[in-house]
């Protein structure tokens, strides 16, 4: 029995179809959504969402953090930013990483909450670059 997966970015719906399994990057570790799963809400870090059909990855999407809402029959991913792995622009991502690294160097090292946010962003962009380079 398949589950309904939806990947939604603020601008539009990227994917809405039925798959056998979805593996997504939870903030505290990767999590798979499968049919008949107990309902769950999840915070996502930046990383790859993989869609599985018949035990094989059919599609991979990069999400830059967000939330996931899973129930027994569907899985909704609200991504801050999302794109197919094949469309990642490594140049843009590298530029973003440089800007973030600069912000990190300048940032006040005692302001922990701000550093946390920056660190999450840096990790997310690094994951994007990694995903982009593995695809091409």
């Amino acid at each position: 029995m398949p589950i309904q997966i939806e990947i939604i970015s603020p601008e539009k719906v990227l994917v809405s179809r039925e798959v056998d399994m979805v593996v997504m990057p939870g903030a505290e570790g990767d999590i798979a959504a499968m049919p008949e799963r107990a309902p769950m809400m999840l915070l996502l870090r930046g990383g790859i969402v993989s869609l599985y059909d018949n035990d094989a990855v059919t599609d991979r999407y990069f999400v830059g953090g967000g939330f996931a809402d899973m129930t027994a029959t569907r899985c909704t991913i609200l991504a801050d930013k999302a794109e197919p792995v094949s469309e990642i622009s490594i140049d843009n991502a590298t530029a973003a990483l440089e800007a973030l690294t600069e912000a990190w160097d300048k940032a006040d090292k005692t302001d922990i909450s701000r550093l946390d946010v920056l660190q999450d962003k840096i990790l997310s962009v690094r994951a994007e670059i990694e995903a982009g380079s593995s695809a091409s």
Binding site: S9, E11, E28, M40
Partner: protein, 299 residues
């Protein structure tokens, strides 16, 4: 009476104005279609966000120390108004409606003894309030309208509001923008962002989820409070984004209507000027004839 040459020049200039306004109308119509499509495309995210927020709010209900975005600061002293307009004019009363409503709201709040701060979005609001209430402006966002609205504008704006709130500079935040009804009608309206008007969200969410979904308890990872703290700023951004998109669509709708009227007016002016032109021409001819005839008779 204007001379023939002057009349010809005026008709010519109004003709070129009509060309410009009718071109602007076409452009606005095309942009309107695109803006409506992107407003349409943004709706699923907002809907899913509302559903999740409803679940979470229900799960954390009654707990102490709710985040400020949800509950506010518990005070009602400092109001932040965010009037959202376009960057360019020539769209009828679209921008002045928002500015006027904001002005009324400011007066009302000040009469109640509240402090008002302003965060104008769009050049039209900024220049208007720079004249009227420059001392109230705390921040501004301009230079995005007319193009596709990127989500980053909304997220920056949301972060600004959030920062002001966290710093305790404001207690209540309200958006003033044109609600898009259809291409012809946009209604200026206020929408309170902070504290969140949670009742209807929870009500719709529980009404939707109770019978449809199985009653199993949700798991949260990490815990509810952390998720809520992450989700609320997002929700703020999404609401702002929705109003920005409505403004973009409304701006083009209003411009389309305004330019349609302008084109029609130009046509009417050309007609009446042409009439005057022809009559003047005929009078001139008649006058010349009379001169010739009376000259011939005198001989």
């Amino acid at each position: 009476m204007a001379s023939l040459k002057e009349l010809r020049a005026r008709i010519g200039s109004i003709k070129s104005t009509r060309k410009i306004t009718s071109a602007m109308k076409m452009v606005a119509a095309a942009k309107l279609r695109r803006a409506q499509a992107s407003a349409e495309a943004a709706r699923p995210y907002a809907a899913a966000m509302r559903r999740m927020l409803g679940e979470l709010a229900a799960a954390t209900k009654g707990e102490e120390g709710a985040p400020r975005l949800l509950a506010g600061t518990g005070q009602d002293k400092v109001h932040l108004l965010v009037p959202i307009t376009s960057d360019r004019g020539l769209c009828g009363g679209f921008n002045s409606n928002v500015n006027r409503l904001t002005l009324q709201t400011i007066k009302k709040l000040q009469a109640e003894g509240k402090t008002v701060k302003l965060l104008p979005v769009g050049r039209r609001a900024l220049s208007f309030f720079n004249r009227e209430h420059a001392n109230l402006i705390v921040d501004q966002v301009i230079g995005f309208s007319g193009k596709e609205v990127p989500f980053s504008v909304a997220s920056d704006l949301g972060n600004k509001v959030n920062a002001l709130l966290e710093a305790g500079d404001i207690d209540v935040c309200t958006l003033v923008f044109n609600k898009f009804q259809n291409a012809m009608t946009q209604v200026p309206a206020c929408q309170q962002l902070v504290p969140m008007v949670v009742d209807d969200v929870v009500a719709t969410a529980s009404a939707a989820s109770a019978p449809a979904e199985d009653a199993a308890q949700y798991e949260f990872e990490p815990d509810e409070a952390t998720l809520l703290a992450m989700l609320l700023p997002r929700n703020l951004q999404v609401q702002i984004y929705a109003s920005l998109l409505e403004t973009a669509a409304g701006e083009n709708g209003a411009r389309m209507t305004a330019m349609d009227n302008a084109t029609r007016n130009a046509g009417r002016t050309i007609d009446s000027l042409s009439k005057v032109y022809n009559r003047t021409r005929q009078t001139n001819i008649t006058n010349e004839l009379i001169e010739i005839i009376s000259g011939a008779q005198a001989v």
